[in-house]
Structure formats: structure tokens, C-alpha cells
Chain length 439, copies 2
Amino acid sequence: MTDLHESVDDPALTSMTLLNELAGRFPEAVSFSAGRPFEGFYDVANLSQHLATFRRHLEEDKGLSGEQVRRTFFQYGRTKGFIHELIARQLEVDEGLTVDPESIVVTTGCQEAMLLLLRALVRDPRDVILAATPNYVGFIGAARVAGAPVRSVREHDGGIDLEDLERQIRAARREGLRPRACYVVPDFANPSGATMSLVDRIALLQLAEREQIFVIEDNPYTLFRGSAPQLPMLKALDEQHQVIHLGSFAKSAFAGARVGYVIADQTVTSDGARPEPPMLLADHLAKLKSMVTLNTSTVAQAVIGGYLLENGCSLKRATAREAEVYRQNLATMLGSLRSVFEPVAGLPGDVSWNTPEGGMFVVLTLPFPADDAMLEYSASRFGVLWTPMHHFYGGTGGFHQARLSFSVLTPEQIALGVERLGALVQDQRAKQPVVAGRA
Amino acid sequence: MTDLHESVDDPALTSMTLLNELAGRFPEAVSFSAGRPFEGFYDVANLSQHLATFRRHLEEDKGLSGEQVRRTFFQYGRTKGFIHELIARQLEVDEGLTVDPESIVVTTGCQEAMLLLLRALVRDPRDVILAATPNYVGFIGAARVAGAPVRSVREHDGGIDLEDLERQIRAARREGLRPRACYVVPDFANPSGATMSLVDRIALLQLAEREQIFVIEDNPYTLFRGSAPQLPMLKALDEQHQVIHLGSFAKSAFAGARVGYVIADQTVTSDGARPEPPMLLADHLAKLKSMVTLNTSTVAQAVIGGYLLENGCSLKRATAREAEVYRQNLATMLGSLRSVFEPVAGLPGDVSWNTPEGGMFVVLTLPFPADDAMLEYSASRFGVLWTPMHHFYGGTGGFHQARLSFSVLTPEQIALGVERLGALVQDQRAKQPVVAGRA
């Protein structure tokens, strides 16, 4: 058989396959490509504890009977989930953000939330989604499955380029298209590490209101801000319900749980043949969710619920140790890059990198193509893996860039990995004299 | 805002909303509409036990290190899941079916498996899916989200009508369409209760091979066969890889877990610009899965894995008590229907029903329309809820039929509910004289 839907041929997936294959072939390589969270504090025994905590919460705080508790744990349940109130409390505690728990849909990871949202927003072939580029591959993947066209908007060190966003919206309208929403990661974006200023956050919301588009905010790295000051999430600045917020527990509690959520407090009025009372967008997303996965796994929700309860519904408190690991690793990464690649006084440097204040990623710009062939060469000859940035540009840029992730490494591994990158650069310099300014 | 994708307006969902609302308004009503599994044997303490069992399995049977065990429980993992070998063993033990574990994709419930499969198979607007009708609403919902057109094939008491299937395939081809697959529930189908004979199973596979279409087999009720003999699953008869098998733990372990799977052992050869070695359809589905939910929740998989291990990987053994409950409830249901509705000697009966040998559903045919208005009347005046069958026909049939589900009721509730149905029928007879033969 052949003839499968085009979404099975995602080039970013092919790249992930190559990375996994290289990691398997070169187990001694330092891997700057693994973006998964730090795993040093995980303890399997905690899972049963979280379940017990959540059970006590149902019995004591919510006053549920034994039968109701059993039903909560074992049966099909509320499609929007049952830890929505705890999530609302966490947003209040950590972000000072007040949301109606009814506007929250608990999803099978943030990935499902993206899919539901894209499926709902793209009604016909005129509808397009905008996204700051380089993109998170999961968003592009969800768009492929939903058949949602995505147009790129430029990004700089301060996040999405608002002038380009306005330009893209107008260009799309001139083509008879309807821009529905723009996807941004305001804090320490994956893969770029870029963070938006407060001024730009406000300007983005004003632009969205003026142009009548939604802002899709995805903010999984805001907890890991190093020493940077906390900026309000876009949802916390959102007075006109322009922002649809995506949440994740993958980087805080744990990724395997597959628990995320979407806040969709927009009111949807019926336009169809069957008039219906206004409904929250969240309830429409829940209808779609019932056709994708039904409710989010009850055991997974209960584990996350217990984790939240044990930490006073503060993810900041829950992830304080991880945040310190990432802060130290970022400092080590930037220090190592300086010591290996800092230009000699009077000579131009041919390797550069950005300097995010938090998150899990740094982007390195090289004086030679950072493609899959170079990655394989880097792994086999120098024992260091990284992620070619061009995959995050859908093939339109980033050809000389590498994403360096430092979330699962020790400071020693980071220093060693950067030394190996230095050796790769020297090897390439020797082969092909660098033209100043090429990078 | 308005303008959402049409899939948010599924009429079957609106009907489910009405049923939930009526159940809330009339809590004393006997509900024949709840299709969820029997919950009398659930025990929250079992969850931690299952986790511990699975952990021991990883440590002792699989020889994983502490770090590997932690990673299995907490991190992003293998997209195809990690309980595939246990599932393969269960199929061997209970069904005598040997499958390559690599052809299994563990999914977020069977619902996600349906979505992945429909997304993969429908490549362009020529592609259509066939389905025995009345349909399981979840399949139709997944098709709506995937944008996959579904054409109805007639069903009789012996399952799908093979002549009509052949007719529909040819009709579609004449219209320039490409029928890709046909969806069937061979044992005790939801909603009809129909079961296919062995002869028809073999004939269906021959037809599928001749016509080069896939058979999508969904078989969640096969464990609950009352006193009926066990027939081989279609997958067990499948010598030509025509069958894609969907599996569920919702009716065996528990529905809230959201763990299901798909067996897709078909070989896919590349037809695109980038030649690739042949791959299992399972691996293509896994690529799609990575854009929908990534891996299936690790905690949920571990709980199901522990449950399987504690029962020697036999779901028959694990669900022996539930099977006995359903067997008794079915007998009570059929007995009550006979005693309330059996025609008086010499007079034609105006109420009829089918007599499945297992499963969770019986279909009642009434001498008046069994629509949403009648359901509300039935709930408010007579204290009995049921599911209008016409929702399962996409509005093309079943207008006088009700699905009666008996999975969560006691025998006393079943007898009482059927008495109440009898009162509803008497009430309608009194209002509107029955024309003989109308039903």
C-alpha cells in the first residue's frame, strides 16, 4: 500500500529520527539536541503519593462519596477534565492571573490543545494561521494534521517582529485570506530562546485587537527565567479576550504524564442554521476533544492534581530545584561558549550565539552549513550532537545555525560538549578558509 | 467570534448533551442510555498496586536500571508506547493471535487510534471510508475531525450486509472515488448488538482482498459474549494483511485510563519524491501520533501494564466477574422485555427487539417515533432514559428505535426500567391507535 495523507511525511520528524539514530550510534557523544526536562529529581514512589493526595482532596476538600471517587478515577469523565480548579489556582498563585475554571480544557498534553485549537479555528481554505519563526515543531506538526496553513512571521532577539506581523496580516488579506490567529512563545522560546519585552507584549495585544486576530500564547519555559525579572504572561494582560493560552506540565511536573491545557474564555455566538446560546470557545474545543481522545487520562490528571496540591498549587515552588539546575547550566553554557569562541582582540569572530537569560536553549551561528550531513560528521568525528536550526524554519532559514539544549546535561558535560564544538569549528576552518562576515 | 470548523457541530454530540442534561434533571430515572462499563469492582488502591507491579516488571523481567525505570515513567517516551509486548501476549493468550509487537501503536484510547488511521488513509478528496450503519458515534466523530467522508453500508442481525458493501464499493468507484477501508464491529456491535457469523467473517476478508480495501476491525465487546461460542477475530483470520485492528482497554481495565491501541502490520512502500525503505503502517501512524498527543501517558500505560501482568496477560481472566454481570443483565433485560411486551396469543405485537447473545446493548423497535422529544417525555413522565437510535444512523434511519444499555444497572433496575417503558408504550397507544405492522 502507499497513498497516505501528506502529514506522515513531515521533514522535522525525519530529522528527529536521524537525531535518535545518531544518539543510538554514538552513545558517548555529548547531546545538545535532547530538549527533554532534567530528570535528576524524579522518583517513581512519588506517583502513588500524588494519587493518594488527590484522592484525599476528592474525599476531604470536595466531599465526594466513595462511589464518586471511584467513578472519578475509573470512568469516562468530564471531557474538560477534573483538575481545572487546581490549574486556575496555580495561575492565580504563580502568575496573579484570574481565570474562570470553566474556560479551561485539560488536554492530553499541550500537543492535543494545539491540534484542537487549530482544527476549530480553520474553517475553510481562506483561513490561515501566523506563527513567529523559527517555530516549535509540535505546533507545525499539529497544523499539518489539522490541515491548517501556517505563514511565517519574522522573529528577532526580542521575540516576534510586530511590523512583519502587521505586514503578513495585510498581505494575507490582500490575497483574499483570513488570518485567524498568531502563535507566539513569549518567554525563552523553543528553539530561539527569544523573550518579548513588556512593551512588545502590550503592542502585540493592541495589534491583535485592531486586526481582530487571536494570539495563541504558549509559555512552557516561563518558570525557568534564570535571574531575569518575571514579565506578565500575555493572558494576564489580555483585557479583550484576544489571547488563547496553552499550558503544559511537561517541563514542570513531568513530560510522560501527557497533561496540558488550554484557556479559551472567548464567547462564541452561533452563526449556523440551528441558533444556540453563546458558548465558551472552551466548550467547543471540548466537543472536538471528545472526538480525538475523550477525557484526558484520569490517572494522569490525578497524578498532576496531587503534585499541584503537594506544592500549594505553586509550580514555582514545585520546580525551584529544576530552575536552579537550568540557571547554572545556562551560565555554564554561555561561559563555555565565551571561553572557546570569543573573538581574539582585533580579529572578527566567526562563531556567534545569542544570550537568553533563561529557558533551555541557546542558538549558535556557525561559519559553515549546520545541516544533517554536518550533524552526522559532528557526531561521528567529534562526539557532539546538536539540532540543525533549519528544521524549525520549514527550510526557509537557519542554515548556519544549531540549537544547543542544556536541560539534561551536567556542567561538566556542557563544558566538554562546547570544547568538542570548538574542535569541529577548527576542523572546518582548516578545510575551508572563512570569509569574514559570512556568518 | 463565530466561524469555527464544522466538526464542532456534530449532531450526535448535541444528543449526548441532551442525555446528560436529562440524567441530571431526572436523577431517579432508570437510565438505559449510559453505555459505560460496570463499576462495582473498581478499587482506587489497585492503581498503586498496578504501578508497583509494572515497576517490578521493568526491573526484574526487563532488567532496566533505576535510571531507565525513572525515564520510562517520567519522560517523553517511545511514540508507539511501551506496553506493546504485553498487549501482544494478551492477544496470544486470549485470542490465539500472534502479532509482531512492532506493529502495535499504543494510543490515547481507541478514539485516538481511529483518528490517526482515518487521517492516514484519507489522502485526497477522492478517498472515502465505508462503515456498517448504525455506527459507533466515536468513529463518525473521528472521521469528522479528520475530514474523512464516511458512506453507510447496511447492517442486519448478522452484522454488515456484504452485498450492500460490494454495491457501495462499486458505486463509489463509478463516481470516481476511491474506497479505502470498511469499519466493522464484528462482535455485539454498539449500538445494534449484531454479531457476524464465521462464514461472513471469511467472506468479508475475501471481498476486501478482491476489492483491495482495508477492513477496520473494532472489537471492544468480544470479552462479554454471554454463553455464545467464541468466534475468531477478523485479525486472527487475516492472512493478507487486510485487517487493521483497533483495541481498547475501556471495557476491560477501565475507561478513564484512555489506553487503546491499533495493530497495523501492513507494509507501506514510498511513492513520493524521497524514496524510503518500506515501513510498517504502524510507524506512519506513530508519526501522526507524535503530532496529536506524542506518546500515550506513561502512568496510564504503566497502570494498564500492571493490570495485564497481574492477570497473566489474560483479559478474559481479568474480566470474568464483569462478564458474569453483563450475562445476567442481558438475561434479565430479555426476560423483562418478553414479560412486558410479548404479544398476546393471536394479536400482533407492536413492540419488538433483537436478541443478542452478549455485549451491552439491546435495540427496541417502537410503534411511535423514538426521537429526542419522546425521550424527554419518557424521562419526565415515566422515569426512564434510553438512546434514540437515529443518532447512530446520521439521520437516515432508526427513527422508531431505542438503544437499551444495561451495563451499569442492577437486575432490579433493569426490570423496573422495562416496566416503565411498558407504561410509556401504553400511554402512546392510548393517544394514538396503533396501525398493525407499522413498527
